[in-house]
Symmetry: D2
Subunit: 399 residues, 4 copies
């Protein structure tokens, strides 16, 4: 047991930290400015292209993808501290081609895709020239129980015909989004966990309607966005099915482990940055004769934040270690635990930071309100807390 | 001691409930639709004019204003249950001319205004033909300690010249906003709580710049809005000063009691409506083989919500009773307590409702995200929790 | 709606407060001293006899018993503030013949007892010459679900024969305990809520064994005590059955409402006294250069305590009002709510008081540790929190 | 970074686990029985002697003491998982000569003692033939701020004369307790952190009075015990002073790091065992038609317990790693954090376990109430939460 970062990780952390300082943070206002004045909010601001170029140059590209030579060849445990740092800025993950949902989608293609599927979709995704969305959640049912999903994927000769009503398709708004990975039922009469399949749908296929962007506590999160989408008699070649009929659950399980841990890593970075802001603010504001930083209640807020962050980080790193050493399936208790811990920790830390900022905390000047709104989605996305706690309890009771 | 509503209150509650059912709830989608398609988001949607007319007809106009024949002549305790009901809808308070910050501003004019000030500003406010804003908070200082306020109000012959940088001026965005009540220093060398004064500034006075609307989380809260405003050498007649130089704190204290309790009452209504939505959703969604309403964790969420609402309501009603019987000043512990309890209770209830709704909870489809964002502001507006807890503790220690 | 105490209640409160100041508080050390040096810890210390005489003289005897001319003739709402005050001292309720479980047992006899049963048991209980215990909980089953109860009450000619293994029979240790009210099954084949009956068992009946006193966090609570008891072929006349076979649940429901609310009232008094101690301590201790009372974290503890107490008191008073006006059954949501709120509130307040006292808080010098241990039992006794929350949720969902 | 236990640790864990299964758990009832029937509760039950012999045989003796050849030569990180396992039973730490306060006292002697002091006190302590107590806390002052300490240690020729009123001297009750390490002031006029010294006092020195055993909640924790002690003109040779006058704070700092982390490790073991009991109970009890283990609310309790334990363990292991690699002083933020986290976590887990056990949880049948009471002391002992949070905040603000 050794809690020190390896020399390799230390070196990578240094490089990512430098990239943040030199490239990402200075670009944040520019990105916001370009977006605010954009003719089309769903087009990625030009500065993002420059950031991506800089990240490639710096060798900080596709850092995710464990056990693969397509990416940087890092283990989950090696990637975690880097992913955390990227999570400090809302624009850093995309700059390094490490942003959701593309990373999860790329993992699906790497693990389960055919060569042809990889050629067509994985390559441009790895190259950062297209983006993608994942369409699973449906407005009509409690999608936390994925067996409720009603979307239909029906075979018709050499094609599948898809009819579905989905929402919370994150990233679907981006004008570069070229691919939807959709989960639906190919055989509603099969055994409960064998009814579903996953299929690749080109974003420009006829029959697809982006109904509307959904807001997250008032934010449209453009140009990324979260969309309600209808698929009406959308035809795709039968080859677009991933892995085979009835294997949707299996793929979803494989996809969700890494997706979840990446979210958790980024949330830790987000919490760290919020705590930094909280301390900075507390030092500069005076109330009732003393700096906030000298007041017991604020000091408790700072201490509790630090304590929760440290615990969440260690739990997440340990989950990464378990994924690396025993596999995603055997590590499912650990993944479920961080999926509960990280969003709740981040919400708590950010909320305390907001409170210390006063009115400045709830508008957009410090990014805290948007950070909170984002973190709140992650108590629901990829499974609500309640489902993960239930999973943890079941495994505990089986011991 | 009697916890039953009086016959008068029962009758008024029935009438307000009917008004909500017959007029307000059906108008909510129309209001939202008109706003969404408005050429100018800062103009009140036409349907609001109709609602106001209907409220007047129903005799549900100016229900606030205790101890006054200008309003409905209700005590705080009589108004509280009605205000709570209005709080169930974001558009109901304005419909009945009972919305912040106008109510607080009208109280200032009723209590401290000269006849001329009342004639010019109070009458159209009571009539609902103009709106107003209250400008106290400043971006440069911790405004939770109002002695920090830096705005200057300087005498210059028969005028005062105002220089100030304010923000969180709620309601300033509304095209009908005609009046700013501003707090600033007339004498920075006076005793700490005698430096400040309040002054009435016409919204069209030269030198006023609405810098930008602030967002609350991602909401701009148009057409009401929260603005950053600069006042540069704004000249107003000396008669516009309220009550006299150095009496700003005294006025602020008088204003804040009622303003705070109205917020709390409305938050209780908001929480009630959120709980209603939570139950409705829980009954209709099935996960893992059973309706959410039958699942222990959801039942706990419902029970805890009900328990917290009941307690917050009783505490608020008791504070209203104390304000009526011993006065706002002697009731300051009670007011401070509800100002901590109500927003935190509402946030907790709404957050649980969001969780039960899943993704639907964080977008705008059920109004829960906006309700949460609004409630969050009230852990800061009119004094952050920390300041109120401190006040409660000091009074307790003096017992 | 009126939150002021009636003149009658004000007068009674004054008298009870005087009794506490003049009689009860001064007797606390004496009571503790007599118990510490007693030859038999299960005999009530002599000072209790004096206290009871003083209470009778002061007309503060049998204050409970709503709707009855046997007691003081107070409503629940009138009794509540008095019961709260008695709850401030562990010895006050018995002094006024208002202590559990006797009060609940007397209620059973008043409501459901025959004249003969009343003559034999109720009269000496009202007179304070005997005490009683209530035996429901069993070690072998989850007694939170009373249908689990396994005790047998079998008819045998003119007698019933009782076989049971009970525990948490509070008050059974007292040498004056003369009566057990026992819940058991007369007909295990009947409909689920008609299997149980209640029966009166003289404490000296052959076949009863007090197996051992149970401790509550190390306290034996002598001379009251909580006992494990076995009943082996205990024969009692058939007339000792209360109300009739199969009516045990009905009686339990009738008994539990008042019993629960009395506990809650007393807990509020206990919390008040703990808060008083917390403030007193905070004023006299200095750490890191300032009195604890000036430190933000301690001030938050004080404020939160005050806020929770006020809310719990109002909720409890409102429940009492509902019991008086709509009856115990219709008020069951209100009773369930206070049964969750009051113990948790008291535990929180007492725990904060302990923390402010440092080491002094966890030993017996300030009574806080014992107060906490007692309050902790009440998250389980008369139904665990979980069962009450479930009841609240069910009623809410039915609205 | 590697979260796997080293082969050495795995091997040691296996041996300690075997020792628990084969020796300790079976002896628990015997120990309790011997204590319950002992003529003198302050004499260690005979079975403890046997356990100690078995531990020595098994090579599980003096496992603490990092960086030393006097013990097992383990690092803090190697000892932590073993200490955790010992913490699962209240009698295991002493069996392996790893119990507080002896371990801390031995560390003082190892680090700061002269050869003579080691010869006289350290050797028999390492040998387990005597025990010791640490006397720092005083009833008259807030001892959380150690500068408040009032005890006097005055030079008088070749002796020091000690006058002090101490309490919470844990272990002082044990008939084998032969040594008190006392903190007091040698020079009240010196700089604030140079006034205190530490001195070794034989337990049989004239002038020492064990005033009374203190209870923890209702437990006297015999034969260990926590005592109030007076030292009246107690004379000890000047050589008994440790390290030198004015160095008391320095020693206290050195002592407290390891002492604190050992407490935290044991608390994690205690929480693990409580969770085990919670699960076992939940599987065997049925309420409302289903095993508790299938009920959502109980499952949440189990999941939250597991989640908090994992986080606390990782945080504690990380602190141990830091102590090993950067030293106790540089690791003070990490030590402060676990000192807040571990007791609060343990209290939460044990309290949930109690709730699931119902009445059985609060008596002594499952050891949960005593476990809770013990854990509660550790939110105060070795510094209250508030002081540690303050320390964490200060370090954070300095970053």
């Amino acid at each position: 047991m050794d809690f020190s970062y390896s020399p390799k990780t230390k070196e990578l952390r240094r490089r990512v930290l430098d990239f943040m300082d030199d490239v990402v943070y200075p670009a944040e206002p520019e990105y916001a400015g370009q977006l605010a004045t954009a003719a089309n909010r769903w087009q990625s601001p030009p500065v993002m292209g420059e950031l991506k170029a800089r990240a490639r140059e710096a060798g900080l590209w596709n850092l995710f993808l464990p056990e693969s030579d397509l990416g940087a060849g890092l283990t989950n445990l090696e990637y975690a501290p880097l992913c955390e740092i990227l999570g400090r800025s809302p624009i850093a993950p995309e700059a390094c081609n490490c942003s959701a949902p593309d990373t999860g989608n790329m993992e699906v293609l790497v693990r389960y895709g055919t060569e042809a599927q990889k050629k067509r979709w994985l390559e441009p995704l790895l190259d950062g020239t297209i983006r993608s969305a994942y369409t699973m959640t449906e407005p009509e049912v409690a999608s936390s129980d994925a067996t409720n999903i009603g979307a239909r994927i029906e075979r018709d000769g050499g094609h599948y015909v898809v009819n579905a009503h989905k929402w919370w398709a994150s990233g679907a708004g981006d004008s570069r989004c070229a691919l939807f990975i959709l989960m639906g039922k190919t055989d509603p009469s099969a055994e409960k966990h064998r009814q579903q399949s996953m299929i690749l749908i080109p974003a420009d296929a006829p029959g697809i309607t982006l109904v509307r962007p959904l807001t997250v506590f008032g934010y449209d999160d453009a140009p990324h966005g979260h969309f309600e989408i209808t698929f009406e008699d959308v035809r795709v070649p039968a080859d677009n099915l991933v892995l085979g009929e009835g294997r949707g659950f299996e793929i979803a399980q494989g996809r969700l482990g890494p997706g979840r841990i990446h979210h958790c890593m980024r949330l830790i970075g987000l919490a760290e940055r919020s705590l930094e802001k909280m301390c900075a603010r507390a030092k500069t504001r005076v109330a009732f004769g003393r700096p906030l930083a000298d007041q017991g209640v604020v000091m408790e807020a700072i201490a509790e934040s630090r304590i929760r962050i440290e615990q969440a980080r260690l739990l997440t790193l340990n989950a990464a270690h378990r994924m690396d050493t025993v596999g995603n399936k055997a590590a499912r208790a650990e993944i479920a635990m961080i999926k509960v811990v990280a969003p709740n920790m981040a919400l708590d830390v950010i909320d305390r930071a907001i409170q210390v900022h006063g009115g400045a905390g709830i508008c957009d000047d410090f990014g805290l309100a948007a950070a909170w709104a984002h973190a709140r989605t992650l108590r629901l996305a990829d499974g609500p807390d309640e489902v993960h706690r239930r999973a943890v309890a079941r495994l505990e009771l089986k011991r």
